[in-house]
């Protein structure tokens, strides 16, 4: 019964979107973490999504893909440098390095992820109802 496959598909999307929400949370939490070197500063992490095909390669054309997280990459954005000589983490020139994270960008990313998550929850619950009704077919 092909309706069962939808749970796999929607489930893979839920897991991918929750990974995305996790990276957003991590980025937001570390947005103000100071560092005394440009290399040691926290870099924003972003997941890379890709379509996921299960099973043997020959069947791939007919198969409908779920989502997988290929990996999490660190953004190549330069750190924010501030001159705060009194800061305990300031280097010998009085500079402190902060992550180059835009909280506005991260918030927009979070809203998009949560909307996608809700979409897929809705899909799974609709399909569950349809399956239950199909099972009750012909019963009285």
């Amino acid at each position: 019964m092909s309706l069962f496959r939808i749970f796999d598909i929607a489930g893979s999307a839920l897991s991918a979107q929750s990974t995305r929400l996790n990276t957003v949370a991590s980025n937001m939490a570390n947005a103000d973490v100071a560092s005394s070197t440009a290399e040691g500063v926290y870099r924003s992490r972003q997941p890379v999504f890709a379509a996921l095909l299960r099973g043997e390669r020959g069947a791939a054309k007919d198969q409908l893909p779920g989502v997988q997280v290929l990996g999490i990459v660190e953004a190549e954005r330069p750190p924010r440098v501030e001159h705060i000589p009194g800061h305990p983490l300031a280097d010998e020139n009085g500079y402190v390095y902060f992550p180059g994270i835009s909280t506005v960008e991260e918030m927009a990313n979070m809203i998009s992820a949560s909307r996608s998550y809700q979409n897929n929850v809705e899909v799974a619950s609709t399909v569950k109802q349809l399956m239950l009704r199909t099972l009750q077919l012909g019963q009285r």
Binding site: S2, V48, F49, V67, S116
Partner: protein, 131 residues
């Protein structure tokens, strides 16, 4: 006997199976709404159903000679790419709102097929009992 039951059920079992397949396609579209390079797909329900029921005008291969091999169009050939309204820069053509409404429509159609089948089963049962 089974022919009688087949005739009573008519088009609905096939519509149900196709509806399930379409729900799967739309769910895959929605799952990949944020996947770079993913192209949204859909089933042309009318022509797929026509083909499944063997009516003329479907994508079925006609045999003009009795020694020809019987051809059947594969299910993948019914999957068509959506014409994108506003494709994203990363090559993704999924329009989440469009997919949502299509999914809702497909779910309602699936339920309609279920209801038709239930009433047919009811009718058959009544006929068998002779009520």
């Amino acid at each position: 006997m089974s022919k009688l039951i087949d005739a009573a059920f008519g088009i609905h079992p096939k519509a149900l199976a196709l509806g399930a397949r379409r729900l799967e396609v739309l769910a895959a579209n929605m799952a990949n709404a944020d996947t770079p390079g993913y192209k949204a797909r859909d089933i042309d329900f009318r022509s797929a159903l026509r083909e499944a029921t063997g009516a003329a005008g479907g994508g079925r291969l006609e045999r003009t000679h009795e020694r020809h091999l019987a051809g059947r169009a594969a299910a993948s050939e019914q999957l068509k790419y959506r014409v994108p309204n506003q494709p994203a820069l990363d090559g993704n053509t999924v329009d989440a709102e469009l997919e949502q409404t299509a999914f809702a429509e497909a779910a309602v159609r699936y339920q309609a097929s279920l209801d038709f089948l239930a009433s047919r089963i009811d009718g058959l049962r009544k006929a068998l009992r002779g009520e």
